[in-house]
Symmetry: C2
Subunit: 229 residues, 2 copies
Amino acid sequence: MRGFAKVAPMPASSLRATDEAPAKRPRGRPRKTVAERDDGNRRGELLRCAAKLFRRKGFDATSTRDIAAAVGMRSGSPFYHFKSKGALLFSVMQEGMQSAIARQQQALEAAQCNAPNIASRLRILIRNHFEILLGSGSDFIPVMLYEFRSIRAQQRRQLERLKDEYQQPWIPVLEALHASGQLKADVKLARLLIFGALNWSARWYDPRKAAGLDDLTEAAIDLFLGERI
Amino acid sequence: MRGFAKVAPMPASSLRATDEAPAKRPRGRPRKTVAERDDGNRRGELLRCAAKLFRRKGFDATSTRDIAAAVGMRSGSPFYHFKSKGALLFSVMQEGMQSAIARQQQALEAAQCNAPNIASRLRILIRNHFEILLGSGSDFIPVMLYEFRSIRAQQRRQLERLKDEYQQPWIPVLEALHASGQLKADVKLARLLIFGALNWSARWYDPRKAAGLDDLTEAAIDLFLGERI
DNA sequence: CCTACCGATCGGTAGG
DNA sequence: CCTACCGATCGGTAGG
């Protein structure tokens, strides 16, 4: 629980500035302890807390006041960092996707050295996907998956492009498995069904219960490729 | 576009009734044409329109005024049929699930006569599931799937029970497929992954495009059972 | 089922 | 980043 100092309200001198210059930088206020300052991370804290709340309660059911309170701000302050609630949601999704793409890239590069066969290449993609989706502290992708209705068409198109970029490495893998007979289903439909199976896990997976991400990965591989691996 | 007659506002005589009896039945008002009366279906129209809006815009983003307008009512009137917006959502989900259970029962009974093998039993369940989920005019189940956060814990438990009832017939089928080696994955995880693959289709399926529900069913069977069918 | 209305809440902003 | 505030909207209700 992060408290913040209560400050006696100052009498507001209601002089109206006549110049229309936009507000520049915040001026000095009584600082918190040095450990709490790290101003550069306030934006990141907002993103993380917003993602958590958006995931648990939904975008519309989360007020900007909820988010502000979660990071110890007053109600108007999130708008110093994001120009609207929708922009905050979009940033959550966009940065979530960019991070997911980067992590997948790394996972693939690390695996390249092991020169794996094509089926274990799928295993790596699936295992990494579960990690991104269900790993600790990752609410960004679930928000991206479950709040798509709350963003405007133009931003949705940007996110679609990131999603395509993310799915790109999966396509040759699935095609190779199809060509070798390990995956019989139509490749395009198989991809849609597979991502459904994986993504839905964000709805039911409980990290406190038995199955770990490795178990999940094995079950998925067994389901999609049977014993032909 | 269903218009409704504009009525000149009557001067409100502001006598306050002192008895606290709840409002009984609606008393006479100038009727619409006979064809439009069918009072018994107003509740059903509300459910259908609400489901459509909840699916497209989300529960929180849909106002009770939106719903009222969609069926040609004034803003307060939905509360004559449902005691709250949440009760309307719950009814959509509950009646959607009850209908789904009934339709699945029928599909299984119809198939019983054909004495199918176990794999085609799974095919029947999957095909019926796609029909319920993606068939024309069925927004109830997608709403049930995507608005679970918007209902209270107690009602959620009721819906969980209906969901269990729906999934009940799938379990012996999957277990038999597992026993016969046609399904290698752990049965419980396989069930979760399979429902994910199927349910996610409500997100991407477009009836105007190429693939029909039969194609989808084939792809799903191929993916889950490979060529071992 | 309509009219007229209420209290609460919300996203956002001006000014400092 | 806080204070103080605004306009809009929303779920819901009393009374008929």
